[in-house]
């Protein structure tokens, strides 16, 4: 029973940790499937984290915060689009520039706006995403009624109740949005005309152009979707998981999401499993500092490094082959 409770708590933590990865990973998936490499996921998340927290702090409304976060992320997306689609610049360099821009701008604006040293004031009440309690789930309300703590009630519940109340219920609404985006992405990419064209533009833009469809338009659409998803990811970090923005709070999650994208070989369902796996590794590392496996102690650093190691293994071709979209990273030049 003890083991089961721990397991469910670790899985619960996994879901929270995997959500920002998943949103960023799907964001990258749209962009890269359309042939635009995007290593600026990190920067967009960071920018959105700041603006969502700042606007939520000023207005007291988390939904306005979310809108502001998505808008700020879209501005960076537009920048990336103009640099790499319109002016056919190097996509990697544009992405690096976006990361630096976000890392500097957020702290600068935060300092001149709030004078709290590059952070936003703490959010409370309507400025934060509340956790959504499912009907009949054991939550804070039950604890209040019975006058006992949630963990006490939970330890008496049966397995189904525990999974329902701890694992499925009680997350922020953005978590459910993130997981619903997975089938939605699959459907858009593989069952709609837009998705077919989007994938084609990443494989062979000349063919799409010949068919009379705008390559530039499609790529801009993909980059915009990427911006929206990164914006949600950033808002989730700052207004749901945390109560405010702290400098560099994305802490490399955009890069782990890129690793997950490669690990998933640019496929939506696989992306979800990859993000959950990476989230699980983090959750285990957080829960157990050093894991003792029959005399062999695995230090916590190994768990932290595993996402990157796994990605290298995949890239090296030991487990299948990761082939990126063929036209990825190359600006499209129409022949004259």
């Amino acid at each position: 029973m003890e083991v089961l409770v721990t397991l469910i708590q670790v899985l619960d933590s996994t879901i929270r940790l995997a959500t920002p990865l998943l949103l960023a990973c799907l964001a990258g998936l749209y962009s890269e499937r359309a042939g635009i490499f995007d290593i600026g996921l990190e920067g967009k998340m960071l920018m959105s984290a700041f603006f969502s927290a700042a606007v939520a702090a000023v207005t007291g409304s988390v939904w306005l915060g979310l809108l502001a976060g998505v808008a700020s992320s879209l501005v960076l997306s537009a920048l990336h689009g103009v640099a790499s689609i319109t002016f056919r610049g190097n996509q990697l360099i544009s992405g690096v520039a976006i990361n630096f821009l976000a890392s500097g701008m957020t702290v600068l604006v935060a300092q001149s706006w709030f004078q709290q040293g590059g952070r936003t004031p703490s959010l409370f009440g309507g400025g934060r995403f509340e956790s959504a309690e499912f009907p009949l789930a054991i939550g804070p309300n039950d604890a209040e009624e019975t006058g006992r703590s949630v963990s006490e009630l939970m330890s008496e519940a049966n397995v189904v109740q525990m999974i329902y109340s701890e694992l499925l219920s009680g997350h922020s609404v953005l978590v459910y949005v993130a997981f619903l985006m997975v089938p939605a992405t699959w459907w858009i990419l593989f069952r709609t005309r837009f998705g077919l064209r989007l994938r084609a533009v990443g494989e062979n833009p000349a063919a799409v152009d010949t068919a009379g469809v705008s390559v530039v338009g499609l790529r801009f659409a993909a980059v915009a979707i990427c911006g929206v998803l990164c914006g949600i990811a950033g808002a989730y970090l700052a207004t749901a998981l945390q109560a405010g923005f702290v400098k560099e709070m994305t802490a490399g999650r955009g890069f782990i999401a890129l690793a997950a994208l490669i690990f998933a070989k640019w496929r939506p369902w696989h992306a979800m499993w990859a993000c959950l796996l990476f989230g699980l590794l983090q959750a285990i590392a957080l829960r157990f500092q050093n894991i003792d496996l029959g005399g062999v102690v695995i230090p916590v650093q190994v768990m932290d490094a595993l996402p990157y190691i796994l990605t290298v293994v995949i890239l090296a071709g030991f487990v299948g082959k990761a082939i990126p979209p063929r036209a990825g990273g190359e600006p499209y030049v129409k022949e004259r």
Binding site: Q111, G117, G244, V246
Partner: protein, 332 residues
């Protein structure tokens, strides 16, 4: 006339900069940044206090990367700043390289005590003594018999904090369970509140009901989650009681502000050598104010006062992690 004017203006400007550069102190913040609500902010407060009291000016820089450390030291030394105050253990190596090139400049290194140079004032703090006191308070406030410690980057200094904390907790309750976690092994561990939150949740599920965060910006996440989940937390370095009034048990004060203020006040006559600021020197302590008045019982504050006296006169020995790189009360 206009030529004369501009010449005079230029001369005045030169005279002013020369005058200002004579004994202008300089302050180098570590990577956490000036407003980390913790270690570096304490230094900033100390410098501001000096500036307000004396009307003096000082120069400052917030380091953005490891590569800037030596460069910043040399720039300030070349510009004639004196003394040059550096924050954090990571400045030790650059200081060792630079200090001998500027024998007339005094350097002040906060959190460093192992260098060998005639012109460096090295100030370190007895963090284990202050942590011992908050550890006692944690153990007395805990109802579950489990208390937590969340460190930032896994370095000996942070283990030093955790070690004192565990000893204090065990002094009150020998059977207490101390759960200790480190956020990471890279400097990113100082600024990852999301990970801080998850660590807090993990420790709560292991039964912890008081958690001490010695983790810079990551600690903001720890304190936030502790407040959300209805348990107590303990802040570090600066007084963090006000962040969540009534939910932060206390803060382990590290009077970096005093160290910086003293150095600036002494100016270029600052005494060099190795100095340790412990409980006796009020270099470390616990924060008591209106925000945590309700949480601290009389029994608790009496115990802390007694233990403080005991440590100062040598009745209580708090083992330092540095002594043999291990802790008698806690396994990391």
């Amino acid at each position: 006339m206009t030529l004369m004017k501009s010449l005079m203006g230029a001369a005045a400007a030169v005279a002013m900069t020369a005058g200002a550069a004579l004994a202008e102190p300089a302050l180098i913040f570590d990577l956490g940044g000036k407003f980390d609500k913790s270690f570096n902010e304490a230094a900033h407060n100390g410098a501001q206090r000096w500036a307000n009291e004396t009307g003096g000016k000082y120069r400052e820089i917030e380091l953005q990367s490891e590569a800037q450390r030596e460069q910043a030291l040399r720039r300030f030394a070349e510009a004639g700043a004196n003394p040059i105050i550096t924050m954090g253990f990571a400045m030790a190596d650059p200081l060792a390289a630079v200090a001998s090139d500027y024998p007339d400049t005094k350097f002040v290194a906060v959190d460093v005590n192992w260098l060998d140079a005639p012109n460096i004032r090295q100030v370190s703090f007895a963090e284990h003594e202050g942590s011992y006191l908050v550890g006692m308070m944690a153990a007395m406030a805990s109802e579950s018999g489990t208390v937590g410690f969340i460190g930032g980057m896994d370095i000996p200094l942070i283990r030093h904090f955790g070690c004192g904390y565990a000893q204090g907790a065990k002094a009150v309750n020998p059977d207490i369970n101390v759960v200790a976690n480190m956020t990471g092994t890279t400097p990113a561990a100082w600024n990852d509140p999301v990970k801080g939150s998850e660590l807090t949740k993990a420790q709560i599920s292991q039964g912890a009901d008081v958690i001490y965060a010695a983790a810079g910006g990551t600690g903001v996440g720890v304190l936030q989650t502790a407040a959300d989940e209805g348990i107590l937390s303990i802040g570090v370095d600066s007084n963090q009681n006000h962040l969540h009034p009534g939910k932060v048990l206390t803060s382990m004060l590290k009077r970096v502000d005093v160290a910086v203020y003293d150095a600036m006040k002494a100016g270029d006559d600052v005494e060099t050598g190795v100095f340790t600021m412990g409980l006796a020197e009020d270099g470390v302590g616990v924060a008591m104010d209106d925000n945590n008045k309700e949480l601290v019982s009389v029994r608790m504050s009496d115990a802390v006062t007694d233990a403080r006296k005991g440590i100062i006169n040598g009745d209580i020995t708090v083992v330092s992690y540095y002594e043999n790189d291990s802790c008698p009360a806690l396994q990391f």
